[in-house]
Symmetry: C2
DNA sequence: CCGTATCCAGCCCGATACTG
DNA sequence: CAGTATCGGGCTGGATACGG
């Protein structure tokens, strides 16, 4: 067993999970997968579902997700062209860990906010004391 | 209940979980928390545990984690100064969803790699066909 | 040892315009 | 409708030097 699986407490640069993590944990992927949870959607429908995403960012995100096998892109030859995006089984398997993370943010954002205010107060006091 | 909790299938720009997600899902946070899993460590020990991280990046990451209440920073007044970082209960609660995500990457990176090769082959073929 | 400060290159991202 | 192409500014991230 010599695979670089980031054993114990060191993360080598060539650990595959690091490379993969960068691919899936970007700003938009989690939301895109969640939006596609209960059925295929078209490009602009997805875009409208995620406030603030630009066309370019969504295109890039969808391409990466498709390349990594997390969703499937299907062109429907009508006029004007329609394109459907559907989550793949692999993508569906990723939703569970994503849901856990999303749940954590909902449960703990108040605690984080409190910590943040305390930290900023400490910083402010430290600066004022100079 | 009118809080903007990203109900159903739309993600509004002011959804708190979006803001929080950006804070915790950066390139290094997950690894830092994992490294601190079984006890406090000092700055350079953490740095050596994560290959490729720069001093600046680690400093920024630790600051953000501290600000969000996920770890505690303790200065030990010896000479030269020693600083210990210890995961907080809040940070510990985040390890579980992180572990799920990390586990997913380990389990599925082969499938992703296969999908990636298939995608690239399709792209190559499409370009060659022009 | 544990940082902060500064500088600079690279890329990312949004805005815009255009195509099939 | 679903993209691609291009361009410019901002922000990040690395290298280096310095301070407590």
């Amino acid at each position: 067993m010599s695979a670089p699986f980031c054993a114990s407490q060191t993360f080598s640069a060539d650990c595959p999970s690091r490379l993969l993590f960068d691919q899936i944990a970007d700003k938009w992927s989690m939301m895109v997968l969640k939006v596609l949870d209960d059925g295929p959607l078209r490009f602009n429908t997805i875009k409208r579902s995620i406030e603030g995403i630009t066309q370019k960012a969504l295109t890039q995100c969808l391409r990466r997700l498709e390349r990594n096998g997390l969703l499937e892109r299907r062109v429907i030859p009508v006029s004007p062209v329609a394109v459907e995006y559907e989550i793949s089984p692999l993508g569906r398997s990723l939703q569970k860990p994503f849901a856990a993370l999303y749940g954590w943010t909902l449960e703990n954002m108040e605690a984080v906010e409190t910590a943040r205010e305390a930290f900023d107060a400490r910083q402010g006091a430290a600066i004022a004391a100079e």
